[in-house]
């Protein structure tokens, strides 16, 4: 009774501790990112000066003052951090609009792409993983194993180019890029644009997760309780379902961890498919040397990673009662 009570109260305290640990982590990240941006050749205002838009030295000085880059670096950092805590990530160099607004505007497209890719990868990997475990060493098993190795070894951007070439250019089944045909606002048209980028983004994870589920399921099927279930005459289908519950635990935590690097993949995928999300915004910001925007996106990406990792831990704890968070 006592044990049960402490167990039930433990996760709350653990969560509070985890959230508290995130504070120094985010703090460390902001320092690194700030240092990276400061290290830019010519400093953060270098790009503006080079653009030749401010020729009068007085104008430059006034601009530097307005940006605050004439102050000592630690002062700049503190000013930036106090503003960032309040959700103000500064003003974009290239559009002179608030960075936060620009990111928020692009967020839905990225989340849509990531969620579609994630969901698709989860479903396909589940099917492939179960099938190749059940039919171990079959032709199907060898085929999926071979394809997954290829899926992991392939550069994402190259796969994207090949798919564009085959399905958009040669066969003409799907649009090459963008989010919709001009003048066509139907959902179907939008979904057709979503297929290629979402598939490209998901391939790595289909490959990884299906392999992982396969070996996890094979290991579980060797467990004693499965032998018992079989001995009792349980039909094979139900035995698999039985085993799957436990086999999925490590796979799901890997999936939650991978959510974090979906963002890196989105940068390339969005760029190739002209998908108007944060990844594409990032590349544009890089080429226009828009440092406040770059920094804002990097910060947002890092916070996303931390949150996804926390989710991974929570999910793992919730699924596997053997895990104690203390």
């Amino acid at each position: 009774m006592d044990a049960a009570l402490t167990d039930r109260s433990a996760p709350g305290g653990w969560l509070a501790r985890r959230l508290l640990q995130m504070v120094p982590l985010v703090f460390g990240i902001t320092i690194v990112l700030f240092a990276v941006i400061q290290a830019a050749p010519g400093g953060p205002e270098g790009a503006l000066l080079e653009s030749g838009r401010f020729i009068d030295p007085q104008v430059i000085e006034a601009y530097r003052h307005r940006l605050g880059v004439d102050r000592p670096v630690p002062v700049q950092y503190v000013r930036w951090l106090t503003a960032a805590v309040r959700g103000d990530l500064g003003i974009s160099f290239s559009t002179t609009r608030p960075v936060t607004a620009m990111i928020v505007e692009r967020l839905p497209a990225t989340l849509e792409l990531m969620a579609t890719a994630f969901g698709f990868a989860a479903i396909v990997a589940l099917g492939l993983g179960i099938f190749s475990a059940v039919r171990q060493y079959s032709a199907f098993d060898y085929l999926t194993t071979g394809l997954s190795f290829a899926g992991i070894a392939m550069p994402v951007f190259w796969f994207a180019l090949i798919l564009q070439l085959v399905f958009a250019v040669r066969l003409g089944w799907l649009p090459v890029a963008g989010t919709g045909t001009v003048g066509d606002t139907s959902l179907l048209d939008h979904l057709r644009h979503l297929i290629l980028p979402a598939f490209v983004l998901s391939v790595r994870y289909i490959a990884g997760w299906s392999r992982y589920l396969r070996s996890s399921l094979l290991a579980t099927l060797r467990a004693d309780y499965i032998r018992t279930a079989r001995a009792k005459g349980l039909p094979e289908r139900r035995v698999i379902v039985h085993a799957l519950r436990n086999a999925l635990i490590p796979v799901i935590s890997i999936m939650a961890l991978n959510l974090a690097d979906l963002f890196s993949g989105a940068v390339i995928t969005e760029t190739i498919f002209a998908w108007p999300g944060i990844g594409r915004l990032f590349i544009q910001a890089m080429f226009s040397r828009d440092y406040p925007l770059l920094m804002g996106i990097l910060l947002m990406g890092s916070v996303m990673v931390i949150i996804f990792n926390l989710i991974a831990d929570l999910v793992y704890g919730a699924l596997d009662p053997r895990i104690r968070h203390d």
């Binding site: 120094p24 990276v36 194993t145 180019l161 290991a219 770059l294 996106i297 990097l298």
Partner: protein, 266 residues
């Protein structure tokens, strides 16, 4: 599989290294009388917009791509092993500081950070390898720390300490050699990873700059003419795929060979 991969990658690496000797043309030899040729007997992989032989360029590109991959993997593994060994061996404050550093480095999305950093540098081969290597030490550090934590409790470490061996000596002579399995496996997989990262950066125009060919910047060149001249896209990508695939198979094979506890189930 691992042995076959070793042969494949050995052949590719050898061919790339010997590129000046075996390549049928110069990598920057422009031949305007035979531009944009599809693959044929004289140009096995065809030619590009300037009539340069693609096979030659793939071989030369491989030199740079593989070199950066190996260098970056070496840098990342060395840094990761040192940090992981120090953290695991000393424990306490050192461990705490180093592992929080690792957490921070882990949380920043690698590719975007890599993009920013490589836009600063002049994209020389050495600096590319350096940047990629310094952003890929975290996994090794965590694995090595875990190994070291268990190794430092071993009787032979205690024996070494009891006869007065210093910390660094113990790490070098006793701890690292026993943690070498996961380090080697991690390093192998890191080569493939670094090759893919390099090609992604070059593809975005941030890697090694033309006229030096790399697989990544060849693909960037090919992107605009992909529809009419697909071979320019297909072959450099296949080269990356083949090399990374082999490296990963070798890594898998090493894992099975070095760690008898590992059961890959197939």
């Amino acid at each position: 599989m691992a042995v076959a991969s070793l042969v494949v990658i050995g052949l590719i690496a050898l061919a790339c290294m010997a590129a000046p000797l075996i390549a049928p043309y110069g990598f920057d030899a422009i031949d305007l009388s035979s531009i944009r040729q599809p693959p044929s007997a004289t140009h096995w992989m065809g030619t590009d917009d300037l009539g340069r032989d693609l096979l030659t360029r793939v071989l030369y590109g491989g030199r740079v791509s593989i070199l950066i991959g190996v260098l970056a993997a070496f840098i990342g593994t060395a840094a990761g092993s040192i940090i992981g060994a120090l953290a695991g061996f000393h424990g306490g404050r050192t461990d705490n500081v180093l592992m929080r550093m690792t957490d921070v480095a882990y949380a920043i999305p690698t590719l975007p950070l890599l993009i920013v950093l490589s836009s600063y540098s002049q994209s020389a081969i050495a600096s590319m390898a350096m940047i990629i290597g310094l952003l890929s030490w975290m996994a090794t550090a965590r694995v090595v720390r875990g190994e070291v934590l268990s190794i430092r409790e071993m009787p032979y470490v205690e024996a070494a300490r009891s006869i007065g061996a210093g910390g660094l000596r113990i790490i070098r002579r006793h701890v690292l050699p026993n943690a070498i399995g996961p380090i080697v496996v991690g390093a192998t997989l890191a080569v493939g990873n670094a090759i893919i990262l390099e090609s992604s950066l070059s593809f975005l125009g941030l890697g090694v700059q033309p006229p030096t060919p790399t697989w990544g910047n060849m693909l960037q060149d090919a992107q605009s003419t992909m529809a009419s001249k697909p071979w320019l896209t297909i072959f450099p990508g296949l080269a990356i795929l083949l090399v990374v695939l082999s490296v990963n198979f070798i890594g898998d094979g090493l894992q099975d060979a070095l760690d008898p506890r590992a059961q890959t189930g197939g």
